[in-house]
């Protein structure tokens, strides 16, 4: 009986989590568009300096990519932007990205957000919205 009660109690926490995820202040908490622009610049700088993943961007137009990231991050954060670039599957097609690649990008983005003074809890709210993109980005 106690076992069932415990599972019910912890299970409720386990299932209730996503329902609590409503969040409208993220864009502001990340410093609005100026904050997001700084995060994108710092994170792209990190990607290009990271020996684990810099080769991924060999064929990329980095100016265009920085601009697209700024719009996309704005939209993901709930800001007043509409990302009109490639969908995530098409954008990463043929790159054969791994989970290790995806996570390296996450680590570089975390470092960039640290540098830009974004609070850890705020970083996680943002990363929670990016995390499911793993399903489209990682192709093997």
């Amino acid at each position: 009986m106690k076992t069932i009660l415990c599972i019910a109690a912890f299970g409720t926490v386990l299932l209730a989590g996503p329902a609590l995820a409503q969040d409208d202040t993220l864009f502001a908490d990340m410093g609005g568009q100026p904050g997001i622009d700084r995060i994108v610049e710092a994170s792209v700088d990190n990607y290009l300096a990271d020996p684990r993943i810099k080769a991924i961007f060999d064929e990329s137009n980095m100016e265009r990519l920085r601009a697209e990231f700024k719009v996309q991050f704005c939209q993901v954060a709930g800001g007043p932007c509409a990302y009109k670039g490639h969908d995530m599957t098409a954008a990463h097609k043929g790159l054969h990205l791994t989970n290790a690649d995806f996570n390296a990008v996450v680590e570089d983005l975390q470092a960039a957000m640290d540098k830009c003074g974004v609070a850890f809890a705020t970083q996680n709210r943002f990363l929670a919205r990016l995390a499911p993109m793993q399903h489209q980005v990682v192709s093997r």
């Binding site: 996503p18 609590l20 791994t98 996570n103 809890a121 996680n124 929670a128 919205r129 995390a131 399903h135």
Partner: protein, 302 residues
């Protein structure tokens, strides 16, 4: 089995196996230099080493696969755990290998020192129970980290096969066997937006005091369903604080067994080293009540 030999053997075995397995990988990734021990998981997402050697928290198994290998690689680690109680002391060393973020194999060697209680029971001061624990865990579905758009947790099944070396004493106190196997089903989810990790585990077990007093008893001999769970809040990438709860059967009529809980803090220096410290309450153990004290665990690996 001597743990001093087994752990290096496990680790060396994984390292020898790694290059052979690497050949099967797709050329696209190999071109960028895929490493077998890729340390590609995010910090802390392999958990720490649970007291029985499985990837998890302190006293609860988790569905996460131990180590920092992604689905394209391996992770390996060794750990040492000390639990200091008012009347007893538990020392554990062990190792775990995570294969392709899918299968985890673990080994732990536990030494439970009865200190003065051993003398009081006529066993001799410092009489020590030893236990080998062989673990295996298979991730079934879900990803605790990536599936932030889904309610589905990461779910794994596993077992812990335990061999205790004090069969005669176990029989004397009413235990039915010195060897037993626990089976468990774990669900673990990271609620990233809330910086919260939650685990729920159901364990089928006959173990008395984790198996230190054997398996099955005069009061109850069969498997029973027990619960263990963890909740951890991430204060930073490298620092988590949480609590755990674990129910245990009470199979022996001479020694009432109670539920265990702990509060813990885990610090991840990097992907190669973590330190977990806890205050743990294991309840009554044989003739001594209120066995609560310090839990310290160090894990090193890749």
């Amino acid at each position: 089995m001597r743990p001093g030999l087994l752990i290096p053997t496990l680790v060396a075995g994984a390292m020898i196996a790694a290059p052979a397995l690497a050949d099967s990988d797709a050329p696209g990734t190999l071109a960028r230099g895929l490493q077998m021990f890729d340390e590609g998981k995010l910090l802390a997402t392999g958990g720490v080493s649970e007291v029985e050697g499985t990837g998890g928290g302190g006293i609860a198994n988790w569905a996460l696969i131990s180590g920092y290998g992604t689905r394209d690689g391996l992770g390996v680690n060794a750990h040492y755990t000390y639990v200091g109680l008012p009347d007893y002391q538990l020392n554990t060393i062990g190792a775990a290998v995570g294969l392709f973020d899918r299968l985890e194999l673990s080994y732990a060697w536990q030494a439970f020192d009865t200190e003065q209680v051993g003398a009081a029971l006529g066993l001799g001061e410092g009489y020590t129970f030893h236990q080998n624990i062989f673990g295996a865990k298979l991730k079934l579905i879900g990803d605790a980290v990536y599936d932030q758009d889904s309610w589905l947790p990461q779910i794994a099944i596993g077992l812990q096969h335990k061999e205790n070396d004090r069969g005669a004493v176990i029989a004397f106190v009413g235990g039915q066997a010195s060897v037993g196997t626990d089976y468990y089903l774990s669900a673990t989810k990271l609620f990233l937006a809330q910086s919260l990790l939650v685990d729920v585990t159901l364990r089928e077990t006959k173990a008395n005091q984790l198996g230190i007093l054997g398996f099955g008893g005069d009061k109850h001999g069969d498997y029973s369903s027990q619960f263990e769970g963890s909740v951890a809040y991430l204060f930073a990438k490298d620092f988590a604080v949480g609590g755990e709860f674990r129910t245990k059967p009470s199979n022996l009529s001479i020694a009432k067994e109670q539920d265990a809980w702990d509060v813990f803090a885990a610090y991840f220096f990097n992907k190669n080293l973590s330190l977990t410290a806890a205050y743990a309450d294991l309840g009554n153990i044989v003739i001594r009540n209120h066995q609560s004290g310090v839990y310290v665990s160090l894990q090193a690996g890749l």
